[in-house]
């Protein structure tokens, strides 16, 4: 077991070094479920390595034994093999039968042991935490972005955001998974295992982040052209920071103050943007694309395809089909002045 542990840690450090980041790996668990999965993985890995080493060693030994008689013929043509002689030695035969039976029994026992480990892991993962005060979130998979709705018992507190899930540390997070078009799969390896998002069929998942940090997620079920650029970020903050974010996210957008920002708002309302996007506190209420009420507070645009900078945003608005070919956002033919005003307005959506 100690040898297996050393092998495991060597393997882990090699893999971690190779991917050079620990916010998108199941090998750096930060929640109870991920810890269970990691333990399960370690148990399987250790047992399999030991069995593998033993099997290969025994095979090698067996291939070397009783072959002394051919050693003298190296470099020469082989003499014709003697006819097989079946001289049964009853005691030796009994001994061999015994050991074969022992090996079969050991295999069955090991497999059942692994089955038990696997079963208890799955059971531990799927039992909901008894801790009170879970955060309720509905995540809907779209081609190719994530709609994130924070549920609350008071309807006025319900709000929608996209692609970035803020959660408090140390509190369970219950996620209802849905899909709007095709099957997607929710996967944040540092926090928990995968779960498919199926159209017209809700599934549930819960996790808990124990350490603050940004954990990457990724759609894990092929869902079309931009499946690879369907990223997700879980941002775990200490509870007081999370509460601050939550209160800010519940507010509608502030009305623009400067003249150019007001013009930008007009562009948003009168041009293509308002057909698909919502901005809280304005008449724009499209539900086809992501909610943009606080878009400037996000780290990335287009589900992690690009960073959220003014230049990237301008490029994304004008020609998204270069950045994410096949995505649902059309090329928008805006005049330079309209674009500049629109960018100034979007900048206010903090």
């Amino acid at each position: 077991m100690i040898g297996g542990g050393v092998v495991t840690s060597l393997f882990n450090s090699a893999v971690l070094a190779a991917i050079s980041t620990d916010n998108h790996t199941a090998l750096a668990p930060t929640g109870p479920q991920a810890q269970h999965i990691f333990n399960d993985y370690k148990a399987f890995y250790t047992v399999c390595i030991i069995v593998y080493v033993l099997t290969v060693a025994i095979a090698l030994i067996a291939s070397r034994r009783h072959r002394q008689d051919t050693d003298g013929h190296k470099g020469e043509a082989h003499p014709p093999l003697p006819p097989p002689q079946l001289q049964l030695d009853p005691t030796r035969e009994a001994k061999m039968t015994f050991w074969v039976n022992v090996c079969i029994a050991a295999t069955v026992l090991i497999l059942f042991g692994l089955l038990f480990v696997d079963f208890s892991t799955a059971r531990a993962i799927h039992q909901f935490s008894s801790k009170p005060g879970a955060v309720n979130i509905v995540v809907t998979g779209h081609q190719w972005w994530w709609e994130v709705r924070y549920d609350d018992e008071h309807p006025q507190n319900v709000f929608t955001t996209a692609n970035e899930i803020h959660v408090p540390t140390g509190r369970p997070v219950k996620i209802v998974l849905q899909a709007a078009d095709v099957i997607h799969s929710f996967w944040v390896p540092n926090l928990t295992g995968k779960k498919d998002m199926i159209p017209n069929h809700s599934t549930e998942l819960w996790f808990q982040a124990d350490k603050p940090g940004i954990y990457w997620g990724q759609c894990a079920e092929f869902c079309g052209f931009e499946h690879a650029k369907m990223r997700l970020f879980v941002i775990a903050d200490p509870p007081e920071v999370f509460d601050g974010w939550l209160n800010a996210a519940r507010t509608p957008s502030r009305p623009p103050l400067e003249q150019i920002q007001k013009q930008g708002q007009q562009v948003f309302m009168l041009k293509q943007c308002s057909m698909c996007h919502t901005i809280g506190g304005t008449p724009a209420g499209g539900r086809v694309g992501p909610d943009l009420t606080h878009v400037m507070n996000r780290y990335t645009l287009a589900a992690g395809a690009i960073r959220n900078t003014p230049g990237q945003l301008a490029g994304w608005i004008l020609d998204p089909q270069v950045i994410k070919p096949g995505c649902r956002m059309p090329q928008n033919n805006l005049s330079p002045h309209d674009l500049q005003a629109l960018l100034e307005y979007l900048r206010t959506l903090q």
Partner: protein, 213 residues
């Protein structure tokens, strides 16, 4: 022996261009070149406009930087060289992906809210042979972009041109006016109407508002 070998080669020579040709109907072009399609006034069906009346269409095109009345379909997929029934040939009508996109946009932009899934309700049905404002692609384009009296809003500036042409292709597929290899075999919503590729061809018939059932 040699004669026998010629047959598969000849079959291949015939099959390859056929395969390439039939792939075209599934070709997916995501980016329209140029992004801003040119504006012409050749598809105007009526001088009537909502709001302020412009003197001429050329003046109108000059005053609106974002484009005049109607832009031709982008040349992305099929060349607009072969005008069929109307003045404008909508290349998207020969492309299954574009028709599928039109289907998606028909739902996304809430055409379905009034026209339902082709059967009509608040707006007139789209799967029958009655066309109040014409069934040609450019006429349907004008209906979407300009709007029509008694309820049809204008989507000018709200939907980019190439998406309007995709919606036009889908709208025409609803009454079986597209070839069956392009029309979707299955709709993305509740069944009711037969799928567009098994829709009976219904040649458009001109009618006036008075004869609508």
């Amino acid at each position: 022996m040699k004669r026998l070998n010629r047959f598969p080669l000849a079959a291949l020579a015939i099959a390859m261009p056929l395969a390439v040709w039939s792939c075209k109907r599934e070709e997916r072009s995501f980016r329209v070149q140029p992004p801003a399609a040119d504006t012409t006034d050749k598809v105007i069906v009526s001088k009537l406009r909502a709001g302020q009346m412009m003197a001429t269409t050329t003046q109108r095109a000059a005053t609106e930087p974002s484009g005049g009345p109607i832009a031709p379909p982008p040349p992305g997929i099929a060349p607009a060289s072969k005008p069929s029934a109307g003045l404008v040939h909508n290349g998207y009508e020969e492309n299954a992906y574009a028709v599928g996109e039109g289907n998606r946009l028909y739902l996304a932009y809430n055409c379905v809210g009034c026209h339902f899934h082709g059967g009509g309700g608040i707006g007139p049905p789209l799967m029958d042979d009655t066309w109040i404002y014409g069934s040609n692609p450019e006429q349907i384009f004008a209906t979407i972009v300009e709007g029509r009296p008694n309820g049809m809003p204008s989507f000018r500036g709200k939907i980019v041109d190439y998406q309007v042409w995709q919606i036009v292709a889908y709208v025409r597929s609803m009454s079986g006016m597209l070839s069956k290899d392009v029309a979707p075999g299955r709709d993305d919503h509740m069944a009711g109407a037969p799928p567009p590729n098994s829709m009976r061809y219904q040649p458009p018939q001109w009618s006036t508002v008075g004869t609508i059932r």
